[in-house]
């Protein structure tokens, strides 16, 4: 068949060459989901199974093309359960594997996440969150799955979940998810959301080879050798010993096993957890945010501190103040003396208790904006029992605007109205 | 000649071998296996034609049919 004819028959193809579309400095303008797919390839992911679901579909679309080109395998499964199961199977075949989904699909994958946690299989799950519950809001964003990521599967286990707030982080955190999953031999969840997934930004791509240490770890109490290496690995969903033999009927051994899969994460929390602190040195008020909400939170800090940023301007607030206070007052209102800082949580699970407590030790008030009815705020209240912790929930699919958060700050310091 | 052994550590006493053997090599016995069941005894070993159905049909791999000595068929 002639080359041209084949192109027509197959429709328009994305260029397989990774260099196409890159700027002179090597960066690229990408959508969050595309950055995730590229990060996975860069991290050595060579198996992807998925099922299309808005708003994560771009990942499966891009990897359908890129995964074979990278020498990996791609399959569109019959459902999310099958996707989650086949990546675990593929990982035991020796291929680094991930799947991507959203809302309802993430619910279907929960049993497999528990299976991966129990069998200590390093796989990556991408959850591009959408509004829920049930079918919910397929095209709008939320952070309602933050507890499902932690407690979704039955039984006791610990999970690692990373929450990106920019396209660059979507790329970097995908690579980090693979690194952490291999290091701790555990499923890792990338808890993205529709805002980040569909946002387009400049991304610095890595060209180096990501080396991931997948050697056996002594804190892992399950078989660790991939299949077909003569190790007779038994991947056992029932509680098991190092050789994969069931111990589910022996309470003492079973208890030690469950403790171990929890402790291997919680004991290494210092290594896993990452937060970023902005303007926290002299802050009286801290905003604690994760995922896409960290972006308006950052802008709220800039507004409050009078940090000049051409891209943000409290238009709505000025407009409203014009009516309530008159032009002169509105213009002359200076918020810049407000000592507001931001703690942006990169690792939502395990909860970065120590880092949050350290950064927020001198503040009086903590505001936790979230695109849900107030979930993660409960963790903050637990970590900071002697501070005033205020929840700023927002549901319905709209992300907080910077002025939403600024309003709350002003309300707290008694400057509102 | 064959030597048929029933492993008393493995036999669960289901008696499938007694019924499946075309030459009635196995008979019930009063011997007890490790699981507490009465295990069969390969009493009529001289009748064995080495079809090895007992080996294939034993759910616990407890029966071993071993060909010993010169072929006398």
């Amino acid at each position: 068949m002639a080359e041209e004819e084949r192109k027509i028959r197959r429709g328009r193809r994305r260029p397989g060459d990774q260099r196409i579309g890159r700027m002179e400095d090597g960066s690229m303008v990408l959508q969050g989901n595309e950055a995730c797919a590229k990060g996975a390839i860069q991290a050595g992911c060579r198996f992807f199974a998925g099922y299309p679901i808005t708003p994560s579909t771009e990942i499966i679309e891009l990897l359908a093309e890129e995964m074979p080109r990278a020498g990996g395998a791609f399959i569109q499964m019959e459902d999310e359960i099958g996707s989650a199961c086949s990546i675990i199977g593929a990982r035991w075949g020796g291929a680094r594997a991930m799947t991507a989904t959203s809302g309802p699909g993430f619910s279907l994958m929960q049993e497999a996440i528990g299976f991966a946690a129990s069998t200590e299989t390093p796989v990556v799950f991408i959850d591009v969150q959408r509004g829920g519950p049930s079918t919910g809001q397929p095209t709008l964003s939320s952070q309602q799955d933050v507890y499902q990521a932690r407690y979704g599967s039955h039984g006791d286990y610990e999970i690692i979940a990373l929450s990106p707030s920019s396209v660059q982080e979507m790329y970097d955190f995908t690579i980090r998810a693979f690194e952490l999953s291999e290091k701790y031999r555990t499923p890792v969840i990338l808890l993205s959301d529709e805002e980040v997934g569909h946002m387009r930004e400049k991304v610095e791509l890595r060209d180096d080879v990501v080396t991931i240490d997948d050697s056996p770890k002594d804190y892992v109490k399950s078989p660790q050798t991939d299949f077909f290496k003569g190790a007779m690995s038994t991947v056992e969903g029932q509680l098991h010993d190092e050789k994969g033999r069931r111990i589910g009927h022996i309470p003492l051994k079973s208890g030690a096993f469950v403790e171990n899969i929890c402790k291997k994460i919680s004991d290494h929390a210092d290594d896993i957890c990452q937060v970023k602190a902005y303007c926290m040195d002299d802050a009286d008020i801290a905003i604690i945010a994760y995922g896409s909400v960290a972006r308006p939170a950052m802008n709220a800090v800039k507004l409050a501190r009078g940090i000049k940023d051409d891209r943000i301007f409290p238009k709505f607030r000025l407009f409203r103040d014009l009516f309530t206070k008159g032009l002169t007052t509105a213009r002359n209102t200076d918020y810049s003396h407000l000592k507001v800082g931001l703690i942006k949580i990169d690792t939502v699970w395990p909860c970065p208790d120590k880092l949050i407590a350290r950064h927020a030790k001198d503040v009086k008030t903590v505001i936790v904006p979230e695109m849900n009815m107030g979930k993660y705020v409960k963790e903050i209240q637990r970590i900071l029992p002697d501070k005033q912790v205020i929840s700023l929930p927002k549901v319905g699919g709209d992300i907080h605007s910077p002025t939403d958060i600024l309003d709350k700050i002003l309300e707290e310091v008694g400057m509102d109205e | 000649m064959v030597k048929i052994s029933v492993d008393k550590a493995r036999c669960k006493g289901c008696n499938i071998c007694i019924s499946i053997c075309p030459k009635q090599v196995f008979v019930k016995s009063i011997k007890r296996g490790d699981y507490g069941a009465n295990i069969p005894e390969a009493k009529n070993q001289d009748k064995c034609i080495e079809c090895r159905m007992c080996e294939r049909m034993c759910p616990d791999g407890a029966i071993d049919v071993e060909h010993v000595g010169e072929d006398v068929k």
Partner: protein, 276 residues
């Protein structure tokens, strides 16, 4: 102990959790015979779901995934795509394969991916204590059908035929030689193989479904109630059709089709495995 059995079984894991006279052991021995005849001990992995029959591979000296209930086929598909050159043997019960895993069976068979499914059919949910399964005969009294099972029983082999599986056979535990041959052929066959095994459950299915609790008697009945039929033949009234139903070597296997489509697009055949 049987020497071949000893070679393939993790003796430290014995005893098997199968009840005395359970058909699973016979299927296990048949699978050992098949693997041994092929001599592919190092190139085969087993995957199973949940249920009594899912424990069959767990005692074998092989790489094994004892997966989630009903999900043996997707686990195996991932493993197969990561290592297309290896063989995967799946053990799945009637409930595991036809009820909770039905969707995966449909798509696995339709893809014609190179997997060998040994569907151990004992007509009951044995591990949970004798509840109605998709293959429980109409009217049979079980713990969850105290007034008689109302559902029409599913026929595993016929379902797999309709779904497009390219190697389909049905045998019983009363036919261990034929069963071992079928498993061997199924592993050799490049494509989706489905081998249904009617297997006795003396403890749970014995009393209500078969009318006897004696394993030897159940095996005798399996021999009486079945009739070996060649392709296209129908059994006499009241008998269950057994034998090799289909062996179609013409249909191209899934991983080969993928590789061909990649090669057509100018992509070198990729596979997931690290050494590939």
């Amino acid at each position: 102990m049987n020497k071949l059995y000893e070679e393939y079984i993790k003796t430290e894991s014995l005893p098997t959790l199968f009840c005395p006279g359970c058909g699973n052991g016979i299927v296990q021995v048949a699978a050992i015979n098949a693997i041994d005849e092929l001599g592919i001990k190092d190139d085969i992995a087993c995957v199973s779901g949940i249920g009594c029959s899912a424990w069959i591979p767990c005692y074998l000296k092989l790489d094994v995934i004892h997966a989630m209930h009903g999900r043996a086929i997707p686990f195996a598909e991932g493993l197969k795509l990561a290592r297309p050159e290896k063989k995967i043997l799946i053990f799945s019960g009637d409930g595991d394969c036809l009820a909770i895993g039905g969707n995966h069976l449909i798509h696995g068979a339709a893809r014609n991916i190179d997997l060998t499914v040994v569907n151990v059919n004992n007509n009951i949910y044995g591990m949970t204590g004798g509840q109605k399964s998709p293959t429980t005969p109409y009217g049979a009294v079980t713990k969850t059908s105290p007034f008689g099972a109302a559902d029409e029983p599913m026929k595993g082999a016929e379902t797999a035929m309709a779904l497009g599986a390219t190697y389909v056979a049905r045998w019983t535990t009363a036919h261990p030689v034929q069963l071992a041959k079928a498993i061997k052929e199924g592993i050799e066959h490049k494509g989706f193989s489905f081998i249904e095994v009617l297997s006795q459950c003396p403890v749970q299915a014995g009393k209500n479904v078969m009318g006897t609790k004696e394993p030897a008697e159940m095996i005798r009945r399996y021999r009486e109630m079945t009739c070996v039929c060649k392709d296209g033949e129908e059994p006499p009234e009241g008998k269950v059709k057994i034998g090799l139903f289909r062996r179609d070597e013409t249909k191209v296997e899934y991983t080969e089709r993928i590789r061909a489509s990649y090669e057509e697009a100018g992509i070198a055949a990729g596979k997931g495995g690290q050494d590939g």
